[in-house]
C-alpha cells in the first residue's frame, strides 16, 4: 500500500515535471541600456511554466556580471523568483560612474 502510494506520487511528480516543460507561459520582457545590444528592447517571450527569473536570464544569455536591477511588474526581484504568465520583466545593467 505504502509502496503503491509512493509509486503514485513519483508518477505524479514525473507527469507534473513533464507538463511544466510542455505547458508554456508568455511574458513581456523589457531590456534597458546595453542589455539591448544584440537582443531587443521589448518582446513577448514564451517560457516553460513555473520558470524562474534566472531561467529567463539564462535563455537571454545575460550573465550574472551583466545585470544590475531585476524587476517583475515594476517591483524588484531576485533570480530565484518564480515567474507567472503575463508578468512584465524589466532588466537593467549596473551604473556606478560619476
Amino acid at each position: 500500500m505504502k509502496m503503491a502510494r509512493q509509486a503514485n506520487r513519483n508518477w505524479l511528480s514525473l507527469v507534473s515535471h513533464r507538463l511544466t516543460k510542455v505547458i508554456r507561459m508568455v511574458l513581456e520582457v523589457r531590456l534597458f541600456a546595453t542589455l539591448r545590444d544584440g537582443r531587443f528592447k521589448r518582446k513577448a517571450m514564451s517560457l516553460p511554466a513555473a520558470s524562474c527569473l534566472g531561467d529567463l536570464l539564462k535563455s537571454l544569455k545575460i550573465t550574472e556580471k551583466e545585470f544590475g536591477i531585476l524587476l517583475v511588474n515594476g517591483r524588484s526581484a531576485s533570480p530565484e523568483y518564480t515567474l507567472a504568465p503575463h508578468d512584465v520583466v524589466s532588466i537593467f545593467p549596473s551604473l556606478g560612474g560619476g
Binding site: A33, I69, S94, G97
Partner: protein, 275 residues
C-alpha cells in the same frame, strides 16, 4: 545667526540705503560696515524684504521663505567630479548656506571632458581647492569647507548637522560606505550615477536600505565600457539638485523606495519601485 545689536545696526544701514534689491556689492559693503558675514546680511535682508538681486530668479520658484531656508542649511557633496562639480555649482548659485565638499583627488586630463571644475590650467590641483575657488567666484555668501578625508572617516564636527548628502561618487564600494554613514547619522542621501547615455537618481531615506537594493545584484558597472560623457552627468546633477532642494525647503520628501532611470539615447524615463 545675528545678535540683537547686529540686527539693529544692519536694519539701519539697509534702510538708509533705500534699496530696491540688494546687489552683491552692496551686500558686501553692508557686511563690512556691520562686521557680520555676507550670508547673515543676505538672510537678514530677505527677512526685511530687501531681496538680494542674486536670488531674483529663484524667488518665483522657491519663495522668500524657501530662499531663507536654503541659507540656513548645510549639505555635503561626496565626490567633486563629473556629478559633484555641477552639483556644487548649482547649490552655490541657488544659495545653500553651508557646503562641505569631500574628495581626496586632484584634477587630471581624463576629467576635462565633463568635470566643470577641471581646467587645462589646473590639472594636478586638489579638487577641494578648486571647488572653494569656484564658489568664491559665484557666491561668496556660501560657506565652504573642503575635506580630503574618506566620507566614512569624516570627523563628526564636519559631517554633523548636514541636512542632505549628495552621492556624487564614481564607484559602488564608496557609495555603499557613504549610504551606511548617512543611515547612521539619519541624513537623507541623494544618489546619482551615470554611464554612457544612461543615468539614475534616487532619494535614499535613512534606514531604508534603498541603495543596497539598487546595487543588490551589481556585477560589472557599464561605465567601465561606456565611460561618462558630459551631457549625462549634467542631466543627473540637475535632477539630484532639484531633489535635494525639495528636501531642503521642506517640500514633498519622497519617502517612496523609487529610483529614476533615464536613457538619453532613446529619451526614456523609467521610475523603478523597490520593495
Amino acid at each position: 545667526m545675528l545678535t540683537q545689536k547686529e540686527r539693529e545696526l544692519l536694519g539701519k544701514i539697509l534702510s538708509k540705503q533705500k534699496l530696491q534689491g540688494l546687489t552683491p556689492k552692496q551686500a558686501e559693503e553692508v557686511a563690512q560696515q556691520a562686521k557680520v558675514s555676507l550670508k547673515a546680511v543676505e538672510y537678514f535682508a530677505l527677512e526685511k524684504g530687501y531681496l538680494p538681486r542674486r536670488y531674483h530668479c529663484n524667488i518665483g520658484t522657491l519663495g522668500v521663505c524657501g530662499q531663507r531656508k536654503l541659507l540656513e542649511k548645510k549639505v555635503i557633496i561626496s565626490g567633486l567630479g563629473g556629478l559633484g562639480g555641477y552639483v556644487l555649482e548649482q547649490l552655490g548659485r541657488v544659495g545653500v548656506g553651508r557646503i562641505v565638499g569631500v574628495d581626496p583627488d586632484v584634477f587630471e586630463e581624463t576629467n576635462l571632458n565633463r568635470q566643470l571644475l577641471a581646467e587645462e590650467g589646473n590639472l594636478g590641483n586638489k579638487k577641494i581647492d578648486e571647488a572653494e575657488k569656484r564658489l568664491g567666484k559665484i557666491n561668496r555668501a556660501v560657506e565652504f569647507v573642503g575635506s580630503a578625508t574618506p566620507i566614512d572617516k569624516l570627523p563628526q564636527e564636519v559631517f554633523g548637522g548636514a541636512n542632505v548628502v549628495f552621492d556624487c561618487l564614481d564607484n559602488v564600494a564608496d557609495r555603499m560606505r557613504l549610504a551606511k554613514r548617512c543611515s547612521t547619522e539619519d541624513v537623507p542621501l541623494v544618489h546619482g550615477a551615470v554611464a554612457g547615455w544612461y543615468g539614475q537618481v534616487a532619494v535614499v531615506c535613512p534606514g531604508s536600505g534603498l541603495l543596497e537594493k539598487i546595487y543588490q545584484h551589481h556585477g560589472r558597472s557599464i561605465e567601465q565600457d561606456l565611460g561618462t560623457p558630459p551631457f549625462t552627468a549634467t542631466v543627473a546633477a540637475g535632477l539630484m539638485v532639484a531633489a535635494g532642494v525639495q528636501i531642503l525647503i521642506g517640500n514633498s520628501f519622497a519617502k517612496e523606495m523609487k529610483m529614476l532611470f533615464f536613457d538619453l539615447s532613446e529619451n526614456e524615463w523609467e521610475t523603478i519601485a523597490f520593495k
